[in-house]
């Protein structure tokens, strides 16, 4: 028996819609086996993971809070991936955005600066993230250096820069030597939407980003160029599209969104700058982008789903002593299944009884 791929005459639109669902189903089946291996009842564990967080309003808000950075970063990444530009350093751009925006919060701390502080911080975060993302993009366009490797290396650099700042110049003098800045002033904090809850203005901004992303991709020439350059580079060259310009542009957009997500996270749920502000949002957002089929509406749903796994993972750790690493395993397996199911859109899988050995004459 041998597995053979057959190219479909046309891409299958039905499978394009259901493939993420098949992938999620396969992932859940695989996870049940993993839970059983870990000695936990799979049904109970899956319930804690995927059902319990949906049952109370606190967890529901928490899902939205976690989905906020994931969706915002993933929208930007989808632009890159559609244009075949591989930005995998969103985690670093997230951190630099947080640093750039926090600079203003630290400088204005304790002064009576007005309401302009927060909008300025968000802008600084976006600019910081965009500039940081432009480093690998320029290295790619000007010198041909692999953007995959350079963007990833810069994640480590960003992490160390943040670490230096909160242990050195920006450390809160009254912070008992903990590596953190002072709590941001109220004017430097993202407002809460529901009194006493955790849901913040960032969720609204993310929804606006989703709508803007959909309009940009679907209704503008730029969105069309991005899709053509990625899907048919040769046709794009004949059409006179400048692929270098699009690499710079998509990196800048995704960097800006990742940076803004970073400063929103710091000025919102966290409230100060400290090491470890991200549980890998920049990497999980890659999965969100693919699971959402690089489509803004899909990304919104995928982001909520992956946020659910973060919350479910935390609850499973508390309730059932399931290690937190299971969440990462889950995310990795999910990405594999998503990619494999995507193959079904272009190819048909067929099992053939034995391999044809006709064309072996030369060997």
């Amino acid at each position: 028996m041998q597995l053979v791929l057959e190219k479909r005459a046309e891409r299958s639109n039905t499978i394009a819609l259901v493939s993420p669902l098949i992938a999620i189903g396969l992932t859940i089946a695989t996870m049940s086996v993993l839970f059983a291996i870990l000695g936990k009842n799979p049904i109970v564990a899956l319930g804690v993971y995927f059902i319990d967080p949906l049952a109370d309003s606190y967890s529901l808000q928490e899902i939205a809070v976690k989905a906020t950075p994931l969706v915002m970063i993933a929208i930007g990444l989808s632009f890159c991936y559609l244009a075949n530009a591989w930005n995998i350093g969103a985690e670093g751009q997230f951190l630099i955005g947080a640093v750039a925006g926090s600079w203003l919060a630290v400088k204005t701390h304790g002064t009576d600066a007005g309401l302009w502080v927060l909008p300025a911080m968000l802008l600084l975060g976006a600019i910081g993230g965009a500039l940081y993302a432009l480093i690998p993009a320029i290295c790619k366009v000007r010198f041909g250096a692999s953007e995959i490797l350079t963007s990833l290396m810069l994640v480590y650099v960003a992490d160390l820069l943040l670490d230096y700042l909160v242990r050195g110049p920006w450390r809160d003098p009254k912070g008992f030597n903990f590596p953190t800045t002072a709590e941001f002033d109220p004017v430097a904090t993202v407002p809460i939407l529901i009194e006493g809850g955790r849901l913040h203005l960032g969720a609204v901004i993310t929804l606006l980003v989703v709508v803007a992303g959909a309009v940009l991709l679907g209704k503008t020439i730029m969105g069309f160029e991005i899709r053509v350059v990625g899907a048919a580079p040769r046709a794009a060259r004949f059409g006179g599209f400048n692929s270098n310009r699009l690499i710079l542009l998509t990196f800048a957009i995704s960097g800006a969104l990742a940076g803004m997500a970073g400063i929103i996270e710091v000025a919102g749920p966290i409230g100060h700058l400290q090491p470890g502000i991200s549980p890998g949002y920049g990497f999980t957002a890659i999965i969100v982008a693919f699971l959402g089929r690089l489509n803004p509406a899909g990304i919104l749903i995928a982001g909520l789903f992956l946020a659910l796994t973060f919350i479910g993972g935390e609850q499973a750790q508390i309730a059932m002593k399931i290690p937190l690493d299971v969440t990462k395993v889950f995310q990795g397996i999910l990405l594999f299944y998503v990619l494999a199911c995507d193959s079904l859109i272009l190819y048909r899988f067929r099992l053939v009884s034995s391999s044809p050995k006709v064309s072996r004459g030369v060997a």
Partner: protein
């Protein structure tokens, strides 16, 4: 022991995991497959290597466990990219994310445990030669193995028929297929070799470099190994030079931190990563006359029947 001797010994130790992982990736990429999951295979290799050595008390069993773990993960990658024609960049990222989780899952119960690391070679007389003795004849088996592997890989790629076929598959899979070579099977073996090397490189860290396991202890070495393959222009000789240069950067920044030059330690720690970016830019810029990469690198091959 003089300072210079100490530095050279430390550089050899720091370079070995880079050289091991990069050797595997070089062969994989020569067959036309870009496996970005080196970091993931390494970190699982580190966890399984430590687990094997801790449970049995044998470094050799640990090394074999690390290699097997790398091979298993690389087979997942091969299934995705070769059998199911999945995009290699995305599958490699998935492998790294999965590897980080699996490594934590396996390794968490061993955090805080200690093992005896791989013994250093000692040949009476030879090892006692001042300066050169310990550098040439006083290393652990991994160091010699890493050099043997790259020499062996170089011999295989350029001096054997199998190597010629492998390079042909990496440069033009359609022609190789037309000549009747099993492209996907050859690529699978290349990917598995890469997995074994990455797993061994990861296992080297807890088995010889430090005697314990910490989650995330590979700290980007897998990615640096990928950059080294680009740096080497896919040539084994240059790969050795690159690996030792990067080992030297890592060790020199540690010594600079120790010397207390007044530069914050985070900046020194960032040096190897920044050096990778700069080297990638310089090497890509120098190569204006066209890329030396295997022509079919990273492209999907679906045989038509």
């Amino acid at each position: 022991m003089g300072l210079l001797e100490a530095i050279i010994l430390a550089v050899l130790a720091a370079s070995t995991p880079l050289l091991l992982a990069a050797t595997g990736e070089l062969v994989t990429e020569r067959a036309g497959v870009l496996n970005l999951g080196v970091e993931g295979m390494m970190i699982v290799g580190a966890a399984c290597g430590f687990a094997g050595a801790w449970l049995t008390g044998s470094v050799i069993v640990g090394a074999i466990c690390g290699m097997l773990a790398g091979v298993v993960l690389s087979l997942v990658f091969a299934l995705m990219t070769l059998a199911l024609a999945v995009n290699q960049v995305a599958a490699g990222l998935a492998l790294t994310i999965l590897g980080t989780g699996v490594s934590g899952l396996i390794g968490s119960r061993f955090v805080g445990e200690k093992i005896t690391t791989a013994p250093k070679l000692y040949i009476p007389g030879l090892t006692d030669i001042p300066f050169a003795g310990r550098i040439l004849f006083g290393q652990d088996a991994f160091v010699y193995l890493s050099l043997a592997l790259i020499i062996g890989a170089s011999w295989f790629l350029y001096r054997t028929r199998g190597g010629l076929i492998l390079r042909a598959v990496g440069d033009n899979h359609a022609s190789a297929h037309a000549l009747g070579y099993p492209v996907l099977r050859i690529r699978m073996f290349a990917v598995m070799f890469g997995g074994a090397c990455a797993g061994l490189a990861g296992a080297y860290l807890p088995l010889a470099y430090t005697p314990f396991f910490i989650p995330g202890m590979t700290a980007g070495r897998g990615w640096i190994a990928l950059a080294l393959v680009v740096f080497s222009s896919w040539l084994p000789g240059r790969l050795v030079i690159g690996a030792y240069l990067f080992g030297a950067v890592t060790i020199l920044q540690l010594h600079a931190q120790g010397a207390g030059l007044g530069i914050p330690s985070q900046f020194m720690t960032a040096l190897p990563y920044l050096a990778t970016v700069i080297v990638l830019v310089l090497i890509s810029r120098a190569r204006t006359g066209g890329s030396t990469a295997p022509a079919a690198l990273g492209t999907v091959f679906v045989p038509d029947r």
